[in-house]
Amino acid sequence: MPIDSATIKAVTASLYERSLKKIPDDTRVVLARAGEAETNTTARRTFTMMLESADTAASKGQLICSDVGIPTYSIKIGTRVRFNGPVRQAITDGFAELAANIDPPILKMVTHPLTHERSYAGKDIPIVSFDVIDDADYMDIVCAPKAMGTGRWEAVEAFVYPTEEDVEKYVLDVVLRAGSQPCLPIVVGVGIGGTFDQATRLAKEAVLRPHGKPQPDPQLARMEKNLLDAINQMGFGAMGTGGDTSAMAVNIDYSASHGFVPVAVCFNCWINRRTAARIHGDGRVEMLYE
């Protein structure tokens, strides 16, 4: 049975709305734990407010943040999947329908990069990346509304035969430059190697990794842990007004590379917007995480 365009359209819209109105369950656990361990009074209070804000949004169907960002989707399609209509257009239509109907109405955030004109739609919006999964009869859709609070501080730089130390220092430099300005605590995604585009894509996929998913590479696992400790020693704290937890996680991935090695660093803010669903070949929709 082929996957229907209408299903893709509905899932596109639904994932975006869920991303805006509820923080991921795993993220709530991490924030609650950080709040309990916090020694700074203001930050402790901030964590309590964060949880109350997230819980209120989820129970009352409210937006957690008014900056609903621009829509981004990462899609992986099983090679055994068949479609009975357009896929890219279904995603565009799904987002357009959501923007027209969501309650409460969302603000216009899609911005022409040169004229700065704002809208709910624009060239290449939603931003979508596609990949395939060999021999699978389902497609996975990850949705991540992306806003300026973290987006403006992300960076990529090419190194030549970098050491582990070079990479770690660069990650800390990018975090230090962002300082108090993103809505902390953030998740930090790091992509090492490949090519320019591959490094940024790795960083993006890493930042969206669910909490607690094990890092199988022991060297990366050690870097993740040590960098997380390092960032939290900086002291920026919840909402950047001082405290013990500035980052919830550091997630790293790499691709084989040439002697030139791009390193990309990206962030997700404390509400950590990410949702994912699987559409099975028989049309069933399964939430992977939210």
């Binding site: 900056d67 800390l172 108090s180 300005q181």
Partner: protein, 209 residues
């Protein structure tokens, strides 16, 4: 020793003395009219008015001007603000000193702070910067009581010069006070000062594995 953090329930407008009483780390709620906008064109226009000495369509002297965005629903002739949430303030750095000096607010705010030129203007004029919870829309929106006025309506909703009536808006954290102290500068300095130690610890981590 850390100074005590105080909680203030403020009613707007404020006197200079009231603004100068507020210290970094204090928390506040606000009741009264607050003017909000997150538009860069709005800030340019406000700064130009401040510079030229022309009056804004709404007087923010003694009041509050925040980088908060809202959606106003227009239905049956009634304007209803649906939610309220902060935006990153540093992108308005270029215009905030003129706005603070020329238009005389006692409270500004958003999230993430302002640069040193703004800190100087706040100190000089007796105005403080407040940090609101980003992603705090469900909490901050409880304070909304209505729209007092809306100007420059040719802009999209969040760019307008909008004055809202709020009751107990907050709590927000005083993060730059009217005495030249900025939590952001302090924390940036502290993080940079800690870097040698942090890098040494990372080095140790690489060697012990």
């Amino acid at each position: 020793m850390k100074p005590m953090s105080h909680f203030h329930e403020l009613t707007l407008p404020l006197s200079e003395a009231q603004a100068r009483e507020l210290r970094v780390g204090d928390m506040v709620t606000m009741t009264g009219p607050v003017t909000v906008s997150i538009g860069i064109p709005t800030h340019k226009r406000m700064a130009e008015a401040a510079h030229a000495g022309t009056a804004l369509p709404v007087d923010i002297r003694g009041g509050a001007f925040f980088h908060l965005s809202t959606y106003v629903r227009e239905q049956n002739g009634i304007s209803q603000p649906l939610y309220l949430n902060p935006s990153t303030s540093t992108r308005y750095n270029a215009w905030m000193p003129d706005i603070v000096r020329g238009l005389g607010p006692r409270l500004v705010g958003g999230k993430g702070g302002l640069d040193s030129e703004s800190v100087a203007a706040l100190r000089e004029c007796g105005c403080v910067y407040l940090s609101f919870l980003g992603g705090g829309s469900p909490l901050l929106s409880r304070a909304l009581r209505g729209v007092r006025s809306s100007h420059w309506n040719e802009y999209i909703s969040q760019f307008r010069l909008l004055t809202l009536d709020v009751e107990a808006l907050g709590p927000a954290t005083v993060s730059i006070d009217a005495h030249g102290r900025s939590a952001y500068d302090d924390l940036g300095d502290q993080a940079r000062a800690r870097m040698p130690e942090i890098l040494a610890r990372l080095k140790q981590g690489r060697q012990t594995s």
